[in-house]
Assembly symmetry: C2
Homo-oligomer: 151 residues x 2
DNA sequence: CTGATATGCTTGAGCAGTCAAGGAGGTGGC
DNA sequence: GCCACCTCCTTGACTGCTCAAGCATATCAG
């Protein structure tokens, strides 16, 4: 097997382990999945904490229907609201509520801690993490808004 | 956001892109998913091309029920058979059929090509790939049987 | 104004995995 | 020999996504 195929299979494997870990902690402490958290985080980064649902789908690498289904429970528990566009009757916005913004802050702290734990044992150097992130960026398309490493 | 959290989210994002790409090509050419291919590949690496289903689950990072459901269609299309253990009536083996072994060879060629394409543009160096694989290994647990890079 | 086409979103059906429960078989204490 | 317990595997119910279809709204050509 080539190195390239080996790396691909490892990527798939590593992701399931990582997602499980985030889901466990985020779920236990805040009742949300990693996918939920990523959605809220992305919304929080948008101007006015709101995005058109189709743009949110694009940003998250999901389909529009995935966003509809994923947002439903977040609306139900009051972290996100639906807003309409006065100009264009087709579009609906997803927006963070005040509660959502507050809860997101807590979740972010938890997520940071999990990430720190994951990359702590066996000890990762700052360079390792930066390198890996750079390598993954080449694979995953644009995905996240530009993140400049904190040197 | 810390580098560690950033890298984690990129990992998740990169995986879905990568899986989509493998699924598209493997599905189109051979009618199997990346998960199917990984299962067959792992079976092919085992002595006698057979494994206890519980060990297969462990090797693939799945639960036993995940293996039951995943193998069902592969058995139905004749790539895998179920074998029993004369000594222990509880255990069932999953084994590659001759057809399965032959088809796996073709799939492997396809998968190698996809992996090569993925890591070709923008050009990845052999060192980049090795580095990334090493970094991912730290995250994903053991996962694959030891793979020593081809230098 | 009307009809054709494009866009935004939701919905039904399906797939791949999870967990919890349960059945069938094996093992050890007494 | 028997009963308690353990292991292997499957099944039912659920989640989180996909695709295909459909509805509502917008836009553009004539």
């Amino acid at each position: 097997m080539s190195d390239a195929l080996d790396a691909s299979l490892r990527l798939a494997r590593a992701q399931t382990a990582l997602v499980k870990r985030f889901d466990a902690s985020l779920g236990g402490l805040h009742g949300v999945s990693l996918a939920d958290f990523t959605t809220l985080l992305r919304l929080g980064q948008a101007p006015g904490s709101r995005m058109r649902r189709v743009d949110l789908a694009e940003a998250l690498g999901l389909t529009a229907s995935g966003v509809t289904r994923g947002l439903a429970p977040l609306e139900r528990i009051g972290l996100v609201t639906r807003e309409t566009d006065a100009r264009d009757g087709r579009v609906a916005y997803a927006a963070l509520t005040d509660t959502g913004r507050a809860r997101l802050t807590d979740m972010l702290a938890t997520a940071e801690q999990i990430a720190a734990e994951i990359f702590a044992a066996p000890p990762w150097s700052k360079e390792d993490i930066g390198q890996m992130s750079a390598l993954l960026t080449r694979l995953g398309g644009t995905g996240l808004p530009g993140h400049t490493s904190t040197p």
